[in-house]
């Protein structure tokens, strides 16, 4: 093995109140694809931003080709040979392919852009990627995969030694991924070091030679792909000590036996949407908590959005209480008494400038229409009841919801849907990013709701939490529902992880 091309040693980075990176090492060898793995908040994107000069690290050192380097910004990093292609392709769809490859550094003569030279250079670069397209065509007319290639071509134009691909595959379909991988292999053979960030396990095992796993801002380890089993990888990413950390109370396991499973409250049959989630079937019964387990990007949110009608399914059926229904949008899902607390509270959930009271009654009011307002006394009563029941603080319903902490905002969102008295409550990551106390309260609430007969679809990245609350766990991997496990004796995080890692064969 040759010397590493790029070495990051002991990298530390703190933000006010958070240690984002703590003594992280990373080595990239020329002619190698290196995967950077980790769950949300593990520190991947911070590490990439340090590497590409977007952030400055507080500790540690970076050497490139044996020489210490310090980048003042992305431009300098690019000059030094470190190029990055981001997930959301940062190109201009209205310009031609050739321009997107070269804009900002197009060759000019007396201030006049030499278009023939631009086209020739762009063609050369795309040739290197074995991509034959008309470089004069608009970028926007090409598929996402081709756009990604063009972004890579742009990155290569600066004589890249290190190419960082930040989740390039998240919106590609299988054949497009193949195309990208062929390019990555070709670059590898040219001696370029490729740092590959992805959430798809299969892809890591297909393309990566080596990987570095991060968790909670620390490096768990560096492994050769061939020497690390998928199960060990999942364990390394999720971390078993999480269980000990997060076990606030030793809540008893849910008893599956007590549950009578009659007609499901909501059942999906072959429901799917191209590019989002493969067709799946899932039944949720009265009083049942179904957990969705899977890594980030495995399709958890996509399942939730289809069940709520937020996205239109392009195949399959949904039945409510056994009757097939057409969900044409959130309103019709609400009519069927389905509620959805989205993952991203700020952008998809709350209207931040409205008050706590207004946010809580929003869904109920939307259902009644604008002309039939919920009487103010009724509003105050409902809001007061849920502010008390969920212990929302500060207990002032007339302040803008943006002034609340994350945990309390989550409770406001819960309250919004609880007052609509749903039959099925879909909770997408309700405990993420909130403090430990609020988390325990929300978990307790889920138990109470299901004891009261409500069906709950509970989505969380934390397996312990899913296992503690759910009667049944549906496992997702790579946008596919791969297993449905009864939460009976013997189901533990190991078995769920095994299911995630193996794709449900375990």
């Amino acid at each position: 093995m040759s010397e590493p091309l790029l070495v990051m040693r002991g990298i530390g980075k703190r933000f006010p109140g958070v240690v984002a990176l703590d003594g992280v090492d990373l080595r990239l060898y020329p002619g190698e694809v290196h995967a950077l793995m980790g769950e949300n908040g593990a520190g991947k994107s911070t590490l990439i931003k340090v590497l590409t000069g977007a952030y400055h690290h507080d500790q540690g050192e970076i050497t490139l080709g044996g020489h210490p380097v310090a980048f003042a910004g992305p431009h300098q990093a690019q000059q030094a040979g470190i190029s990055t292609v981001y997930q959301e392709i940062n190109l201009c769809p209205n310009l031609s392919v050739a321009e997107n490859v070269l804009i900002g550094r197009a060759p000019t003569r007396f201030g006049r852009i030499r278009w023939s030279a631009v086209r020739r250079r762009a063609e050369e670069l795309l040739d290197r990627l074995h991509l034959k397209i008309d470089v004069g065509s608009d970028l926007g007319t090409h598929s996402i995969a081709v756009q990604q290639m063009v972004a890579i071509a742009r990155a290569l134009d600066v004589d890249a030694k290190v190419l960082v691909l930040d989740e390039p595959t998240s919106s590609l379909d299988a054949s497009e991924v193949d195309q990208l991988f062929r390019v990555m292999r070709a670059l590898k053979e040219e001696g370029i070091a490729v740092l590959f960030v992805t959430h798809f396990l299969d892809q890591v095992y297909e393309i990566a030679d080596r990987m570095t796993v991060l968790r909670n801002g620390r490096r768990v380890g560096e492994y050769r792909t061939a020497e690390l089993s998928q199960l060990d990888l999942v364990a390394a990413m999720i971390g078993k000590e999480l269980a000990a950390l997060e076990d606030i109370e030793e809540a008893p396991r849910r008893e599956v036996a007590v549950l009578e499973r009659g007609t499901p409250v909501v059942s999906a049959d072959g429901l799917g949407r191209a590019g989002a989630i493969a067709p799946f079937s899932l039944a949720i019964h009265k009083g049942e908590v179904v957990g969705l387990a899977g890594l980030l990007g495995s399709g958890r949110t996509e399942v939730a959005r289809l069940l709520f009608g937020a996205d239109r399914a392009d195949q399959g059926q949904i039945a409510v209480d056994g009757e097939p229904v057409a969900l044409r949008g959130p309103q019709s899902a609400m009519r069927q008494k389905i509620a959805y607390c989205p993952e991203n509270r700020r952008t998809d959930g709350l209207v931040e400038e409205l008050t706590v009271r207004e946010n809580i009654i929003l869904a109920l009011q939307a259902d009644r229409g604008w002309a039939r307002p919920v009487p103010r006394s009724k509003q105050d009563e409902l809001v007061a009841r849920y502010v008390k029941a969920l212990d929302i603080r500060p207990a002032d319903p007339e302040i803008p919801v943006r002034n609340l902490s994350g945990g309390n905002q989550q409770k406001v969102l819960l309250a919004r849907w609880l007052i609509t008295e749903p039959k099925l409550m879909i909770l997408d990551e309700p405990t993420r990013g909130i403090d430990v106390g609020a988390k325990a309260e929300i978990q307790k609430l889920v138990v109470e709701l299901s004891d009261g007969g409500m069906a709950v679809l509970f989505i969380s990245a934390e397996l312990e939490e899913v296992l503690r609350l759910s009667h049944k766990v549906a496992v997702l991997r790579d946008r596919r529902l791969v297993a449905e496990l009864d939460n009976s004796d013997g189901l533990d995080t190991d078995r769920v992880m095994a299911a995630i890692a193996s794709g449900g064969v375990a």
């Binding site: 190109l91 769809p93 321009e99 201030g111 034959k132 007319t141």
Partner: protein
């Protein structure tokens, strides 16, 4: 070689290529067809319409609008809008008339007029870029300012009798049996220079990039701020020049000149196929757009029994058609 996965929409696009029109040229082509149709209509229906001089008169009567619309094209290509152009044109006529009245030599008045327009544009650009004021509001302030300044100078019309100005205004450049004014030459020169800048210079391509996706443009290392400020400066400069041309045309300065010209300029740009959301369009389209507006007026004049207000309705109608067309095109491109 990797065989390209073609998406369904792309296949459709390829099939459409039987007609040798690329999708991005579609709006401009539509405008050209419309223009030809209108011209044909005029030639068939009215005697004397086919006279070449009629077409040249459209240029003569709209030279100032053409220049202003060129500046507006730059702004709209970046996704912005400039409401101040009509007011800046009026202010320029006013300042020109005032300075000439006070005996300033034309050689000084001209640069002062252009510089003033550019400065107003530059200041609006600063507000928009550095203080995140919406272009709509910032240029609205510019409009109030410029119109207000007109009336500070005088609430009445000031006539221009400077010999140089009068001689330029009355000059007719004859060729064959036809003539154009000096203003037309200037306007065409502006169009050519601007088209060159947009197509062949780094700055021009930055304008398109910023309009396409400002976030990406920034990450690709382009100087977004400089570009945005520059387009408003250019628009101001064009308004200044348009004001000078209008002062040739009118031989007077007046605060009520060019009222509503911002609408005409925006309409010309949109009818010319430039997307109001930015990033797509051609200067050639803007020229066609101005000609469409001018031809509407000419046809209505020839018709005789149609009153002038139909011009506005037709412009609105064309605006509607083109905006819906644009909407359909961008939707297909998703």
């Amino acid at each position: 070689m990797i065989d390209l996965k073609t998406r369904p929409s792309q296949k459709v696009a390829e099939r459409m290529r039987v007609i040798p029109v690329r999708q991005k040229y579609l709006p401009v082509t539509a405008t050209a067809v419309l223009l030809a149709f209108m011209y044909g209509l005029g030639v068939i229906n009215y005697t004397g319409f086919s006279d070449t001089q009629i077409v040249l008169n459209v240029f003569i009567d709209n030279a100032f609008l053409l220049v202003v619309a060129v500046g507006m094209t730059f702004v709209i290509l970046t996704g912005g809008i400039d409401l101040s152009v009509g007011a800046v044109v009026a202010l320029t006529t006013m300042v020109v008339a005032l300075l000439l009245e006070n005996g300033w030599p034309p050689a000084v008045v001209l640069p002062v007029a252009l510089l003033m327009g550019a400065t107003i544009g530059f200041l609006m650009g600063l507000m928009i870029h550095y203080f995140d004021v919406q272009p709509f509001i910032a240029t609205l302030a510019g409009m109030f300012l410029a119109r207000g300044l007109c009336y500070v100078i005088s609430t009445d019309s000031i006539s221009i009798d400077d010999p140089f100005w009068v001689s330029v205004a009355n000059a007719q450049l004859w060729f064959g049996g036809f003539f154009i004014s000096i203003s037309v030459l200037i306007a065409l020169a502006v169009v050519l220079i601007a088209a060159y800048v947009l197509a062949y210079t780094t700055f021009g391509r930055d304008v398109y990039a910023v309009g396409g996706n400002p976030q990406s443009a920034m990450l690709m290392g382009l100087r977004v701020g400089r570009t945005r400020i520059a387009v408003y400066t250019i628009s101001g400069l064009c308004s200044g020049l348009g004001g000078v041309l209008l002062s040739f045309y009118m031989l007077s300065g007046y605060g009520l000149h060019a009222s509503g010209m911002e609408l005409d300029a925006i309409a010309a740009v949109v009818i010319g196929g430039t997307l109001l959301t930015g990033g797509s369009g051609y200067l050639f389209g803007t020229v066609l757009g101005v000609l469409v507006l001018g031809l509407i007026q000419t046809i209505i004049t020839f018709q005789g029994d149609l009153s002038s207000w139909w011009t506005k309705i037709f412009i609105g109608l064309f605006l509607f058609v083109f905006i819906v067309l644009q909407r359909a095109v961008t939707r297909r491109r998703r």
